[in-house]
Symmetry: C2
Subunit: 337 residues, 2 copies
């Protein structure tokens, strides 16, 4: 479904880039607002927040809010505030995640908790979370606030569920799906729905965008979790193995463990459940995961959710934005190969 | 200003108890809602949240919201939701504080971060914070949401400021006042204002309650900080010295350091700025603080703010609730002696 390339530059641009281009004015306004609102007389707050916010994230979630508002023909300015709010919620959860996971890297940069310590990361996360709600209040639509406040609670529930499944090979596929639906898909879904709701009170649009966001979020997380065990990624010098080192039980591990022989089961039990992990374990984990077909199957599931995401948009009239959203879903599944 | 005792039981009740009694039906409803809304299918969330919420806190902040609503003659049910939201915000900040301060005790119980670890404490704090906003959305007043979202951002700013003043004897009285105004008074102020706003759109009532809460919050924190260096508290077996061990620079330390001779200055520099602290240091710190008059002066400042709090209510017509709020302010200053 990718549009035929019309120029070299266009051929090189990803669908995410093209969506950014279609929404360039709105996205620039959202970026300005994001930088404006992370300001505080307490200098550490913008210093720490900018470290993460300017670290090259793709702004997928606010992009989804802006796209949804445009699909609804929205003419006001509240969608800019909602897009900034969505990015603040996302950034707050990343800051807290990195504290919880004891991460040392985030988007290839040293994580904020390593530079400034855990304490400011927790508190600046709280600050950004509060700012997000202030922005939503300014947007002025209480039904939208409800959707985003609900998503925030669900995200926290997902993170707690994930803690429980950590180091636990008894985690089932359905446990895993519940975790990623809550920790990742809930915000994608709310980001799309919020943009649609502010622009139109047609249930059709907000249902479509909620479903698109939900399915895209699941597909996105499945691919993320597959890439963390990708030998090809490792060959390309990209970071892999974070989930393995943190003993997170993601779908690639669940599937590989299901198909494991005695020796492989002992390996997974040691590396994920009891420890310790040794040098060379990651390479062996990648081998088991790839050889068992778990990566291909995880990607196949991602493809299914991406298809569902595209399907959710089928009810809407064709437009440039709709076209790019469809391509974004396809692109998310294909990325990293 | 304390009402004359009419019975033994009444004589023993504090003004906080009497305010609870006046608002018993509302407070019971708020408590039910609090317990209802900390529910989650993820069992760890209510387990951890209840540990703190049922640990005998006085519910001063939600009490203030309920009292304000009654002063405004409010007849609806939204004040119950706001009171629960205020308590959730407070509980979320306590959970994150204990992670930030590496606390081991909270309200005389083992702190949640010690029982369950830092990770769930951070995430359950996020959950409660989100639930607070969901409750505010249900209350349905966007201006009230604005007040409480603003207070939440200010609290986080105050906590970050406090980190900066930690271990820093260059912290001035005005730095300290900024910290406690943000980290403590902002929520007391917003709790009162929110209750007033939901009940009446009279600026007079919401101004009065905002000012009362602000001044009460400062007085409350000043007394808390004085009690942490109280030899008498220590004799009574109550916990003292938390701030000292965490090298927090509170007003008692600022004043004692200002009045210190060479030897005492060396002591404060070692114990607060450079470390290490030794056994017997807390006793010596309490001696210096008390002997310098810093405790009496901290209490005198608290009395000033309590007087301001009472003054803020002078514009309102007399009533049982107004009377108890005035007594609560006086009681907060007198407590612990």
């Amino acid at each position: 479904m990718v549009a035929a390339p019309v120029s070299k530059a266009r051929a090189e641009a990803t669908p995410v880039d093209r969506l950014h281009a279609l929404l360039a004015t709105d996205m620039a306004a959202a970026d300005r607002l994001i930088h404006d609102r992370l300001g505080s007389t307490v200098a550490l707050i913008p210093d720490l927040a900018k470290h993460l916010i300017d670290s090259g994230g793709k702004r997928l979630r606010p992009l989804l809010t802006l796209a949804a508002a445009r699909l609804g023909g929205y003419q006001g300015a509240a969608h800019i505030r909602l897009a900034a709010a969505v990015e603040f919620i996302h950034t707050a959860t990343l800051l807290h995640d990195d504290v919880v996971d004891l991460s040392t890297l985030r988007r290839g940069k040293i994580a904020a908790n390593v530079v400034w310590g855990n304490k400011p990361s927790v508190l600046v996360g709280d600050f950004l979370f509060s700012r997000a709600f202030q922005l939503m209040v300014e947007a002025g639509d209480i039904a939208v606030l409800d959707v985003l406040a609900g998503a925030s609670a669900v995200i926290a529930e997902g993170e707690v569920m994930q803690l429980k499944s950590s180091s636990n090979l008894g985690t089932t596929e359905s446990d895993y799906l519940r975790v990623i639906t809550a920790k990742t898909a809930a915000l994608f879904s709310a980001a799309g729905e919020a943009g649609a709701m502010i622009s139109a009170h047609s249930r059709k649009l907000s249902d479509a965008l909620r479903s698109y966001g939900h399915n895209l979020g699941i597909a996105f997380q499945l691919v993320d979790d597959a890439l963390d065990y990708s030998g090809r990624q490792a060959q390309m010098g990209k970071s892999v193995g974070d989930d393995f080192r943190e003993a997170k039980v993601t779908l690639p591990v669940i599937l590989a463990f299901q198909r494991a022989d005695e020796e492989a089961r002992r390996f997974w039990t040691r590396t994920i459940e009891t420890g310790p992990q040794h040098e060379g374990d990651l390479k062996r984990a990648i081998h088991y995961v790839e050889q068992s077909g778990a990566i291909d199957e995880t990607r196949a599931r991602a493809q299914h959710y991406a298809d569902e995401a595209c399907q959710a948009l089928a009810a809407l009239p064709p437009s440039d934005i709709r076209g790019e959203l469809i391509d974004v879903a396809e692109f998310c599944v294909g990325r990293g190969y």
